[in-house]
């Protein structure tokens, strides 16, 4: 293999890039993220956390962001719709106390809002934990999978992972029939050893990560047979090309440096790959104005910036904060969560 030229890691540019978004300078081509602005915020905050920059955000600014996230919380004891909304875009009420139609939490934004609060060092004391878990319970389907919102949406492995993460963060698994969830995951293992979005669906590193992380978060990794375990490792290890891809014969993509890499970490197989050449692909997707993009020479976005940084952190590159892969956050944040859990007892 030829050696790649050394590419500089532009940490400072990435910090600036993520901060630009946090200050509301969102480019027009990302306007369709308006209804999921909390996810955008999560990618920026979580990226800054990997860059070890959270301490440099003034407390006042953190408080503002925390307040905004809490403003997205839906607490409703009539309908099982508690959780966090994607943004205020859908809200039309003029009087804050009035109940509003279609004000529903979404499982993915609930997950990302909880993590954002944790990263910003909030103690989650204003999170309506009981109602969220009660609503979560209503989202699990007969086959063990989860749908995203009470009025219906698709159901697949992504939302299984969100459900498992929410339960892990809130330290309450009473909203999930864990046996059914595990069954769903095991049924989704494909002929090639990887895991799809559901039974009979094509293996994909995103869904494979979600599945393995959910097993690990719920302490069920041992439910994989040794053969299943080895097959998963093999399929994932072979996803490494110049960087990681998400499916065989698909181009290498920055975000899989985390999805595939994180899954390999959970399965304790990351050490089997050569990590010296590995950062190069991710570094090549840096934008000259900061941020990372999906491929080389394309436009950066916060999602790929976050996963690029997370991927580099898994490679132990660039002095970044260490990841806690199964929850998709830094070890620092997880340690704080563990302390919160002891306080809740």
């Amino acid at each position: 293999m030829g050696s790649f030229p050394k590419i500089a890691f532009e940490k400072e540019l990435h910090r600036k890039y993520l901060n630009r978004f946090l200050h509301g300078q969102i480019p027009s081509y990302l306007a369709n993220m308006d209804t999921t602005r909390s996810v955008l915020m999560y990618f920026c905050i979580a990226g800054l956390d990997i860059l070890n920059e959270i301490d440099h955000i003034p407390q006042e600014r953190k408080d503002q962001m925390i307040e905004w996230v809490y403003s997205l919380q839906v607490s409703n004891n009539k309908e099982l719709v508690s959780g966090f909304q994607g943004s205020t875009t859908m809200n039309t009420r003029e009087v804050p106390s009035n109940e509003m139609p279609y004000e529903w939490g979404h499982i993915a934004t609930t997950y990302s809002c909880l993590l954002t609060l944790l990263i910003l060092e909030d103690d989650l004391s204003r999170v309506n934990r009981k109602e969220i878990i009660r609503s979560l319970k209503a989202l699990q389907l007969e086959d063990g999978s989860f749908t995203a919102a009470i009025q219906g949406a698709e159901s697949d492995m992504r939302f299984v992972f969100c459900a498992a993460s929410i339960s892990y963060i809130l330290n309450d698994w009473s909203g999930i029939d864990v046996d059914k969830m595990v069954e769903f995951i095991l049924k989704s293992i494909s002929y090639d050893g990887g895991i799809g979005q559901g039974p009979n669906l094509e293996s994909h590193c995103g869904s494979t990560f979600c599945a393995i992380a959910s097993l690990s978060l719920s302490d069920n990794l041992h439910r994989l047979s040794s053969q299943q375990f080895l097959n998963l490792r093999r399929w994932l290890l072979l996803r490494l090309d110049t960087g990681f891809n998400g499916r065989p014969n698909k181009p290498t993509d920055t975000c899989y440096s985390f999805w595939t890499g994180g899954a390999l970490k959970i399965l304790e197989a990351y050490q089997f790959i050569d990590s010296e050449q590995n950062p190069n692909f991710v570094l090549m997707t840096q934008d000259k104005y900061g941020g990372f993009s999906k491929w080389v020479n394309s436009t950066a976005d916060p999602m790929h910036t976050y996963f690029g940084l997370a991927g580099l952190s898994l490679m132990d590159y660039g002095g970044l904060n260490e990841m806690f892969p199964k929850l998709n956050c830094t070890r620092r944040v997880h340690e704080r969560l563990v302390i919160l859990h002891t306080q809740w007892k």
Partner: protein, 313 residues
């Protein structure tokens, strides 16, 4: 987005822009308010419904709007059930327009989870769904993008509706693969159609073997190959024959890691007697360390196990 020149914004321009944005925001909020205000009254309001159509065409990821439309469609169904003569036709006409909307959204974004989900939901509500037409569209779309997993998933839902026979679908899968061996999604789809047993294992082996031997560097078919190899219905003689074939393939293509990997699978725990071939496997892993240095660590790990076994033999 690259190479765009930065223009300094004067305060005046800034203020003007802000005013413009405020105006847009007000229009948007008014639209949303109009839509959402109709929920409580249980009445279908064509104006709100129309606004939500426009919004979804711009952004099909607003799941709240899809759910709003579901409620409207359910009201329509309820209403149509009161009209015994014309009810079904009216409902069908209404839902056909909804199907067109999802089509528009999918043309704009073929990976919109919400649009795929809504389309199937609408067809399920339809008094007279044209599953055959849907199936035809699905087959056609797969010729444009044969890796779109949404479309493959959709196909799976449809085959249960149109009552297609398994042999017909297996033929479709064979055609797909003959057309393009290197489509991993087709191999996956095939794996969900086949129960490997002594009746079909030779056919499957022939199909996949011709794929991997045609272009050994292409990763697509190797996992299917491994899957066929792992089946106990495959005889020992056949496995030995395969090993010989792989040796020949390696002579033609000495740098291909997949060929050596397949030899490891065949002689390893998967298949042929483990201890008989352990000395060979030691050799294979050494070759792999050279051929595929990115995964060196893994091969060294297996090499160590094989060498320990050899020492104990």
């Amino acid at each position: 987005m690259h190479g765009r020149l930065k223009v300094k914004t004067t305060e005046e321009q800034k203020a003007e822009k802000q005013k413009e944005q405020q105006k847009k925001l007000q229009l948007y909020r008014a639209g949303m308010k109009k839509i959402l205000s109709t929920r409580a009254s249980d009445l279908y309001d064509p104006e709100s419904f129309g606004i939500s159509t426009q919004l979804l065409c711009v952004n099909p990821d607003i799941y709240t709007l899809w759910n709003y439309r579901k409620e409207v469609l359910l009201i329509e169904k309820e209403e149509s059930s009161k009209d015994e003569i014309e009810g079904d036709n009216k409902l069908a006409a209404f839902l056909d327009k909804e199907i067109s909307l999802t089509e528009q959204c999918l043309i704009a974004n073929p990976k919109s989870y919400g649009s795929w989900h809504h389309r199937y939901w609408v067809l399920m509500l339809h008094p007279n769904p044209n599953w055959d037409k849907e199936f035809g569209l699905c087959t056609k779309y797969l010729t444009y993008d044969d890796r779109n997993f949404h479309c493959w998933d959709y196909r799976r839902l449809l085959i249960n509706k149109i009552g297609i026979t398994l042999p017909a679908e297996i033929k479709f899968s064979t055609d797909c693969l003959n057309n393009n061996f290197s489509n991993y999604s087709s191999w996956h789809y095939r794996s969900t159609l086949r129960q490997l047993d002594e009746n079909c294992i030779e056919d499957e082996l022939n199909l996949v073997q011709s794929a991997v031997f045609t272009d050994p560097a292409d990763s697509s078919a190797w996992f299917y190959f491994r899957w066929v190899l792992s089946n106990p219905a495959l005889s020992k003689e056949k496995r030995q024959e395969l090993l010989d074939n792989l040796e020949q393939l390696q002579e033609l293509d000495p740098d291909c890691k997949w060929v050596v990997l397949a030899k490891c699978w065949l002689t390893g725990s998967l298949v042929l007697s483990d201890s008989e071939f352990v000395d060979k496997r030691v050799q294979f892993y050494k070759e792999l360390i050279e051929l595929d240095p990115t995964r060196k660590g893994q091969y060294e790990h297996y090499l160590k196990i094989a060498e320990e076994k050899l020492a104990n033999n």
